[in-house]
């Protein structure tokens, strides 16, 4: 609340333009289909669509009825001439032919158009062709790359990015990321510096650079000067930690979807849930979103007292004063009152939920893991958590944190914990364990020589020329988190015996109660401070390399000019980022007089990240 160190931070660019662009394109696509049509919308696309267009807009462009895409025959009251228009993000696309074929089986012939968002894939068209419905169905794409969620948050709304890229090794979204960057560059650029770390970041950079070269460049005043790209797997520890900053906590407990949250009756103290937009427009929320949860209550009660005083002014007013009060102040006060009671309700409800699950003890275990302290006790805590069949995702989260911080589990522990996990939550989670291992989230410590043995074995199969192509096979084996060493090198884990005043945070560690500075944000801080990776060689080596820092132009001298745009930094997370990280960056921005804009493939948290690893739905 009161820790702005530098007040001269530049203004953020206006991102509502991106919404307009997306909406205009959608309207254009609808106009391409003259006449009345029904619109079928894939569930995942509902909320993003809601943010940029409304029903009135759609109706004005001859959309008759709106449906949610369900993968079963379409029951529509309209006759055979109906035209369906499908809005699809690329999940479940391979189920589409069933819809059309079911139609055909009924002897109906309807004309369909599929609009893929944000882009279509060759594999989709190929499937339509193989199923013999290419032509019956036409396709198009809606280049809806970027959804501004708030003044400083832009989302690609691609939650599948994490699994597709990091688990399956599919690079289908690399160009999408490049195009999104290109769009930002064209509207708010030109960028003068790009830093990054991670293989995907490098590829996204290349894709963007190529797209810049393909188009022509225009001179304009840059609004965003610097860009930082980071792969989610550079730091997997941070998103797996329990969030304790207000916005993060709300996301962990109620799940914020597309900047909107549904508060249950428990919060609203009425009999129905309500949906609330959470962004900087909400004045109360805006002041508490970045605060450690322990500070929120005090703030809210202070606010409530002020509100009371403002209301109390009424007594002793004459008619005229009262009139002014009602017309000028009352509306604002009522609005504030509504917001206050909402956030107080939410805080209470969260408090209750967290107390019930012994949050304090859970946090203690997490902090011990981060610190590398009393690991045996942590393991028995996790074990008991599993034994008592408490939340499966929570158990998995703790196991992954243990593995990431300890560079893998001892084979004995791994076997025993895995067996108990399968007993408690279902043996089909064998598949989940296989996924977690593949990604390096939960692994067994390998005896030292294993890697070399593997290398020489594969080495015999191939000659030197192709050896480079085997990298991925090795990197998943070699993928060590090196968390302890990184923590020491970058001072990520402050000494536990030091007092940490959460009211006046001294560093980004406040987002985790002073126990841990998020690695991702620390890297960003360090690189910006050093204007590159110099001096961080040891760190990047432990992070598996793939770092870069490039400057526009051949000499790059003009980039040194200190303009406002140089102090606006766009940070792109490939694979998702958490609200806690955003809070940490906002803190860093205040400290350094910078403004951060976070672009992410999706807002994530531990539950979303781990649920994407589950394989138990056929």
């Amino acid at each position: 609340m009161a820790h702005s160190v530098r007040r001269d931070a530049p203004e953020l660019p206006d991102f509502s333009l991106l919404k307009r662009l997306a909406r205009d394109q959608l309207i254009y696509l609808l106009e391409q289909l003259p006449g009345r049509k029904d619109l079928f919308i894939e569930a995942d696309l509902m909320s993003p669509l809601d943010r940029i267009a409304n029903v009135t807009t759609l109706k004005q462009h001859d959309v008759d009825k709106l449906y949610k895409v369900e993968h079963k025959p379409i029951v529509s009251t309209s006759d055979q001439t109906v035209r369906g228009c499908f809005l699809y993000p690329l999940t479940n696309w391979f189920l589409f032919p069933d819809v059309v074929n079911a139609d055909k089986a009924f002897g109906r012939f309807r004309r369909y158009k599929i609009i893929f968002s944000p882009q279509k894939f060759y594999a989709c068209e190929n499937l339509l062709e193989e199923q013999g419905i290419f032509g019956d169905v036409t396709t198009d794409e809606w280049s809806f790359y970027l959804l501004p969620l708030d003044d400083d948050i832009i989302s690609l709304e691609l939650p599948e990015f994490f699994r597709d890229y990091f688990l399956e090794g599919d690079q289908r979204w690399v160009r999408t990321a490049g195009s999104a960057l290109h769009l930002l560059h064209s509207v708010y650029g030109p960028f003068s510096k790009v830093y990054g770390i991670g293989r995907c970041s490098k590829m996204a950079y290349e894709s963007w650079r190529e797209q810049v070269e393909e188009g022509e460049q225009r001179a304009r005043q840059a609004e965003i000067g610097n860009v930082f790209l980071i792969d989610r797997d550079v730091d997997l520890v941070t998103p797996l930690c329990s969030q304790v900053v207000y916005e993060g906590l709300v996301d962990d407990i109620f799940r914020i979807k597309c900047g909107c949250v549904e508060f249950c009756p428990d919060v609203t103290s009425s009999d129905k849930s309500i949906k609330v937009m959470l962004n900087s427009q909400d004045k109360v929320f805006n002041e508490i979103r970045n605060e450690h949860f322990s500070q929120v209550f005090g703030f809210l009660s202070q606010k409530a007292r002020n509100l009371q005083t403002a209301y109390d002014k009424r007594s002793g007013m004459d008619i005229k004063q009262m009139k002014t009060f009602v017309s000028e102040e009352l509306k604002g006060l009522k609005q504030e009152h509504r917001l206050l009671s909402l956030h107080i309700g939410a805080s209470e409800s969260m408090m209750k939920k967290k107390t019930k699950q012994d949050f304090q003890e859970l946090l203690k275990t997490e902090h011990s893991l981060l610190e590398g302290f009393e690991i045996r006790e942590c393991i028995s805590y996790i074990e008991e958590h599993i034994n008592r069949q408490v939340s499966m995702v929570e158990s998995m989260r703790l196991l992954c944190l243990l593995s990431l911080t300890e560079n893998g589990l001892l084979p004995k522990d791994y076997r025993s914990l895995k067996a108990q996990f399968l007993q408690s939550y279902g043996i089909e989670h064998l598949l989940t364990f296989s996924n977690l291992k593949q990604l390096g989230l939960l692994v067994e410590q390998q005896p030292g020589e294993t890697l070399t043995v593997m290398e020489s074995r594969v080495g015999k199969l191939v000659n030197d020329k192709t050896a480079g192509k085997l990298t991925d096979a090795f990197s998943s084996l070699a993928k060590k988190s090196n968390f302890r060493a990184l923590g020491r090198r970058l001072n990520l884990v402050p000494k536990s015996d030091e007092e940490y005043d959460l009211r006046v945070p001294r560093d980004m560690a406040y987002i985790f109660s002073g126990a841990y500075i998020p690695l991702s944000c620390k890297l960003i801080e360090q690189v910006l401070e050093r204007d590159g990776w110099t001096g961080l060689e040891e760190v990047t080596r432990m992070l598996n390399g793939h770092e870069f820092a490039v400057t526009a132009g051949s000499n790059g001298s003009d980039a040194r000019v200190k303009t406002d745009s140089q102090r606006i930094i766009l940070v792109m997370f490939l694979g998702g980022c958490t609200f806690s990280e955003i809070s940490a960056l906002r803190f860093l921005g205040r400290e350094k007089g910078l403004k951060f804009i976070v672009v992410t493939t999706a807002i994530t948290n531990s539950a979303r990240l781990l649920e994407s690893m589950l394989d138990n739905h056929a």
Partner: protein, 484 residues
């Protein structure tokens, strides 16, 4: 929903539309390369990957395009290419910053191709784009792998048919991989799948990890299970193969069919650990099918089941067994003891589960028996593999009455913990007795203030206090550990 006002109330077209148009135009330039492809779209014989993605303002974009172009003063803003090819982690000694970011400013796009592939015949076909459609069809087949990949990325017309020799096909694939575009990599793989025998394709994919992973993911998505199994087999990735096949059990609904399916899985080449788990999975379902149709009718009538036990985890099954089949002889498949033995359930785990089930039924006598051990002299003693504070916690969550709770609170060894638990669950006797035993008069006085005046607790404290002088002497020592 509570939208911000401006979004909610704004109709279409919005008033700001006209002014906005100007801004949009500039922005939209970024996607112009796609717009320019318009005229190719109606070419239905070719796979067209185009569209006009820019929205109803695209006409105006075209109108103003030329003016923007002529006024735009271009300064050198190009970014350098960076080296994205994977390199082995063990080479890290060679990781100097300079080697990673070859600051090559704007290399010609052909150059990177020639670097990777030695000696390709490079010809520039740019002029043909301006030729009439009927004519350029004849030239399509002359696009190099790099040009083809580029065109595919940009959604332009392309053709893969000319890549007929194995070498050409692989060059194309490698080029797609070099372009880092998963969409194009998969498209090329689909073509290779159609035009190469699987043995050849598999063989080539072994040394192409990135392409291989795209291929596997593609096959997973379109559900080509059989081919995937063959692929893993040919690569000697037997564990992946086994898991892949095992995964299919999720698609089997009928429990008897699923059991048979799992039985069939037992022969798959799992890792030794996983083989045990899959064996368990089969045994479990087999048991569950038996258990599902057994049990005494009266307990089910008294406590109707919320769900079937089929496909539940082992621990849930044990809980169910402790709930509905408690006391059955060890030989019965549905008895807790049998389940415990079959699935090698640890003492701790068994106790936790059993405790939960019996507490739920308020069978406090059973709960008691779980902890009671007799020594050789016949004395009974309560023991537990987990701390009694956890036991108290579990009992409390199952609404155990204070009389039951306090027995277990009393067993907590750590005095401080005992007091705090007793306070939390209002076990007055435990607190009072503990303070009495500690001879802590002061705490007793404090506690007297917390209980209801005239209640039995109150009277008990009074009694102790009045006797305390006689029993303890004037000054009562306070243990430092209780001062908090």
């Amino acid at each position: 929903p509570t939208y911000p006002k401006d979004l909610q109330e704004e109709g279409w077209p919005p008033l700001m539309y006209v002014t906005f148009l100007k801004e949009s135009k500039r922005a939209v330039n970024s996607i112009r390369s796609l717009v320019e492809e318009e005229d190719e779209e109606d070419d239905v014989e070719k796979v067209s990957w185009s569209g006009e993605p820019v929205g109803s303002i695209s006409w105006s974009v075209k109108e103003t395009e030329s003016s923007i172009r002529s006024t735009g003063e271009v300064r050198d803003q190009s970014f350098p290419k960076i080296h994205t090819a994977p390199s082995l982690p063990k080479n890290s000694s060679g990781y100097s910053l300079s080697s990673l970011f070859k600051g090559k400013a704007k290399t010609g796009s052909f150059q990177s191709f020639s670097e990777s592939f030695g000696d390709p015949s490079i010809r520039n076909y740019a002029p043909e784009l301006r030729k009439p459609k009927s004519e350029y069809k004849d030239y399509v087949s002359d696009w190099t792998p790099e040009e083809t990949v580029k065109r595919m990325q940009q959604g332009k017309v392309y053709s893969l048919e000319k890549f007929r020799s194995l070498q050409d096909k692989l060059l194309l694939l490698d080029e797609a991989v070099n372009a880092h575009d998963g969409n194009v990599i998969t498209a090329v793989l689909i073509y290779l799948k159609k035009s190469l025998s699987k043995e050849i394709l598999f063989r080539e994919l072994i040394t192409r990890e990135i392409a291989l992973r795209h291929y596997i993911h593609y096959l997973k998505e379109i559900g080509e299970q059989k081919l995937l199994v063959e692929l893993f087999k040919s690569m000697d990735r037997t564990e992946d193969m086994a898991l892949m096949q095992y995964r299919d059990h999720l698609n089997v609904r009928d429990e008897n069919k699923k059991r048979d399916f799992l039985k069939n899985c037992l022969s798959f080449p799992f890792s030794p650990d996983d083989a045990t788990h899959v064996q368990d999975h089969y045994t479990l379902l087999e048991r569950q099918i038996i258990i599902e149709s057994s049990g005494q009718a009266d307990i089910f009538k008294k406590y109707p089941r919320k769900a079937s036990i089929l496909n539940m985890p082992i621990i849930t099954t044990l809980y169910y067994s402790c709930f509905y089949h408690y006391g059955e002889s060890d030989g019965t498949f549905s008895s807790p003891a049998n389940i415990r033995k079959t699935f090698r359930i640890s003492d701790k785990q068994f106790l936790l589960t059993c405790l939960g089930a019996r507490a739920k039924l308020k069978a406090w006598f059973d709960v008691d028996a779980l902890f009671t051990t007799k020594n050789w002299l016949g004395y009974t003693k309560k023991r537990s593999p987990i701390g009694f504070h956890r036991i108290v916690d579990i009992l409390q969550k199952n609404n155990a009455p204070v009389q039951v709770l306090q027995d277990y609170v009393n067993l907590v060894e750590d005095v401080e913990q005992k007091i705090s638990l007793a306070q939390k669950y209002k076990c007055h006797d435990v607190i009072i007795n503990t303070y009495r035993d500690l001879k802590d008069r002061q705490q007793l006085i404090v506690y007297r203030g917390k209980v209801e005046r005239g209640s039995s607790e109150y009277r008990k404290i009074e009694e102790i206090l009045s006797n305390s002088v006689r029993l303890w002497g004037e000054v009562s020592p306070r243990l430092p550990l209780l001062q908090s």
